[in-house]
């Protein structure tokens, strides 16, 4: 069989290329710059992200699979690419001040953020299980390093080791799942899997290969989205990692893994819907309950947001478990954007209000800070109310779409459990505002400096959350059109 080298559509690959080249450039240029000039690297990273975002707008000229069916530049990919680039840009904005304060100003950090972003972009653009795996590994390896970036802190090391060990297992599961699916259907192309299954194929190995393979994929990606019962690592890793990295992981990784889940389940496995819907529904149920209930007991704000991120994964899983609704995929897309904005904003405020050395991260340490820093306080209140799902914030609209999809698909139980666990979440999110606005400060207050980057990140996210709360129509329409690509 002659090897056919597919035509390379450079224009459609440009966003990936820009991000990769920028990351590598940062690594190389950094070596030759004097210390005084190294402060330009964040700006270079942001410029690269901006260029990549512009390039994304130019992709998708010729719809359909590229590179012999390995990747796509469809609406789905472009939507997520823009989301990841936004997450990366906001992360860089809130990192600069943090790294300076913690004495971690090494520009490898920005290169790693960009490599991780590249991995996420590959995951969203993949039409092949192998490419998804490549993206997943690029993302994961960058994150293992980033989690341990604070080399001298025990907690950061613990975080990195835990994430590495468990993450390696998870990707192992994923890869084994890919192998079994290949065994069952004879292909790793998502379109090929879908076709084989639709034609009644996939029965190799006594019909067991496919379900086991899909189950293993679900384990691997369930680990990345921190769905129960694969969530155990989340609080320790998120608490120990440098705060800016935690923000990036919470906002970005989850969106990337959900993009892959959506591609796999909605695009490759629709013909077996009846077999997997109940599994996702059960996971959603458990994830919402465990995440929300466990978050109530947390004192450390990073840990609390770690559990809350588990809970929010549960809400997105509700959307995934409602595939009969035409709104299911688009509501997941919309929610992931909102979710990323809320968390990045909250972490920007946390970074601004805590001290060097990852101290003062107990919720109680925020006492009275709302009146001392009105801008940060009001912004934090907006993020907390949005996370809790109060109107008129974007968090409400996101949940509204998801639960609408669930009700339309007949998953009323999931919707009811979803709203009831939201009430539980109100308790722990409100506690942050209670402490910030209704208690008097105790002891020496934290430094609380909002660098321009932090202030910008906070302001942008807060404004977007209010904007999407009042006027969700535009972005919803975008999510709806982007999700159409999943229909094949």
């Amino acid at each position: 069989m002659p090897i056919v080298i597919p035509a390379i559509p450079w224009g459609d690959l440009l966003p990936y290329a820009i991000v990769a080249v920028t990351a590598t450039a940062i690594l190389l240029v950094d070596c030759f710059l004097s210390r005084a000039h190294r402060g330009w690297m964040p700006a270079l990273a942001l410029a690269g992200i901006a260029a990549a975002a512009l390039a994304v707008r130019g992709t998708g000229g010729a719809p359909g699979p590229l590179m012999g069916g390995m990747v796509a530049a469809d609406g789905f990919a472009r939507f997520f690419h823009l989301v990841y680039l936004l997450v990366a840009a906001l992360t860089i904005l809130l990192s600069a001040g943090y790294l300076h304060r913690e004495g971690l100003e090494q520009n490898e950090y920005y290169a790693l953020i960009l490599y991780a972003t590249l991995g996420m972009m590959i995951m969203a653009g993949s039409l092949d299980l192998i490419t998804i795996f490549l993206g997943l590994e690029t993302l994961s390896i960058s994150l293992y390093i980033l989690a341990g970036f604070q080399r001298t802190a025990d907690k950061s090391n613990e975080s990195a080791i835990k994430y590495l060990l468990l993450g390696a297992f998870a990707t192992g599961f994923f890869l084994y799942g890919v192998a079994l699916i290949y065994g069952a259907t004879g292909t790793t192309r998502l379109a090929g899997v879908a076709k084989a299954l639709a034609e009644g194929g996939g029965g190799q190995g006594g019909g067991l290969l496919l379900p086991i393979g899909v189950g293993l994929l679900l384990v691997g990606l369930g680990f990345k989205v921190a769905a129960v019962p694969f969530h155990m690592w989340t609080p320790d890793v998120y608490e120990g990692a440098p705060t800016s990295v935690t923000a990036f992981m919470i906002a970005g990784t989850k969106a990337a893994a959900f993009a892959a889940l959506l591609r796999i389940f909605f695009f490759a496995l629709p013909s077996r819907q009846a077999d997997w819907v109940w599994i996702l529904a059960a996971m959603a149920l458990l994830t919402m309950i465990v995440g929300n209930v466990a978050a109530v007991a947390q004192r450390n704000i990073k840990r609390m947001l770690a559990y809350s991120s588990i809970a929010h994964a549960g809400y997105v899983l509700v959307a995934l478990a409602s595939p009969q609704s035409p709104m299911a995929a688009s509501s997941a897309l919309f929610y992931l954007v909102v979710y990323a904005l809320m968390n990045l904003g909250a972490f920007a405020v946390i970074i601004a209000l805590t001290d060097r050395g990852e101290r003062r991260l107990d919720i109680a340490d925020f006492a009275g800070l709302g009146s001392r820093h009105p801008f940060l306080g009001v912004a934090m209140a907006i993020f907390m109310f949005s996370l809790a799902g109060f109107p008129p914030t974007a968090g409400f609209m996101g949940k509204f779409y998801i639960f609408s999809a669930a009700v339309e698909a007949g998953q009323v139980v999931l919707a009811v459990v979803g709203v009831l666990t939201s009430v539980v979440s109100v308790y722990y999110y409100l506690r942050v505002t209670v402490v910030m606005f209704m208690r008097d400060p105790v002891g020496e207050p934290a430094q609380g400096t909002a660098t321009p980057g932090l202030a910008l990140a906070t302001g942008v996210t807060a404004a977007l959350i209010l904007y999407l709360g009042f006027f969700p129509a535009g972005w919803w329409e975008l999510a709806r059109r982007s999700a159409r690509a999943l229909l094949g």
Partner: protein
Amino acid sequence: MTILGIPVLTAITFLPLAGAVVLCLVPRGEEAWIRRIAFGVGVLDFLWSLWLLQGFVVGEAGYQFQERQQWVPGLKIGYFLGVDGISLWLVLLTTFLTAIAILSSFAAVTEKVKAYYACLLLLETGMLGVFLALDLVLFYVFWEGMLIPMYFLIGVWGGPRRIYATVKFVLYTMAGGVLMLVAIIALYFLGGQTFDLTQLAAQDFAPGAQRWLFAAFALAFAIKVPMWPFHTWLPDAHVEAPTAGSVILAGVLLKMGTYGFLRFALPLFPGATREFAPLVLALAVIGILYGALVSMVQPDLKKLVAYSSVSHLGFVMLGMFAFTVQGVEGSLLQMINHGLSTGGLFLLVGMVYERRHSRMIADFGGLWGVMPVFAALFLVVTLSSIGLPGLNGFVGEFLILSGAFGARPWFTAFATLGVVLGAVYMLWMFQRVVFGVVTHEENRRLRDLTPREYAVLIPVIAAIVWIGIYPDPVLRRMEPSVRAVVLRVNSAGRPAADISPALDSASAAASPVAAAAGGR
């Protein structure tokens, strides 16, 4: 009608929001200006809402001044506002009481002044939106969104146990509300993909679905009313809230629950409403008696007034679930009356608390000699709350009891006991606070009312007396809308043969309304 080129209802709803934004721009030190601007916005909004009466067509049952815009086209969520005879009076009550509440806080609130008035104004926008929204999602957005400013009002400017009280308030309200959200979404899919109340209320849903949906809506509203046994958040929130917060809470927020029943639960699910009526009536009567009995033993003035609200709102529910025009009119009128008289009571308690820093009944006595004007006005409001003929409470209670008696004699008979008990606890409280000799030395030096406090109380008392003597303008404007709801509840889903007696009783009950109102 438009105001400054903006449709009138939008203008009324969002003027306070604009005012709150303006307040944020005022420099921090200028507290006098902050107060003036806030009060100015409150008064202006009241005047604008009064202007509604000008263009309101009497005798029309449907929604007037309708505004309809697409909000989220993908899901057909609309920005749909309108006012009818039911919501008109609640809108006026809201703008009236907010202006009064702002004025009453001038001396009491000295910390974080700007944020305080901004919260009050945001709250006003939320409450007005609840009463004006005719799209279910829009309604829900206002319903839940309004919790945020109230949460801060109680939590930041409240009493010693404010944090417990405010978190409890939010959690209770939210717990009821979220199930309503699921029900709203279910309605959307059952009712042909629309959130438009006028379209949904014209359909008859299957009995099974109606039961579930009614239960979800009713839980949200019952917690807000609050009906026994969902009332436990209320005493905490009322006692800890600052005076203005209590006034708004009792005056307007509780009405959101009863209004919700009348506007949504009854017309959307008439069949289930009839089925659940005995349960609701039983809870209402338990609430009336329980609230009255518990009020009797309260040592704290604010707590007494809070529990009396449980009792009074039981009457409102009783009248509404009698499903007669007279009963529902009385129920609606009693919502206004309760807002005025309980709001007035909280204002008076607040005034005495500012002077004495105590709300314990045992700390007072003999105030008639020390603060005669205060005592006189206190007496008027107390009597209004009891339902003395000539004051507003009588008209409402009379309409409720006479409207309910024909349909539900037993429930009404027990409820009437509540009227007696109401007189007992209010008069006993009044006697211990105002009559007798001065038992505490510090009470001898209490100042009588200041001019600002006159300005706070006189409008409330004027409204109390006006409704008591001449309720006809109020009743006349609400009647067509009330009649439409009563007709809907009694007729939907029933064979024509069964309807006619119900309708006869409804219309028979209606005629004495005008007679009773006009004759008094």
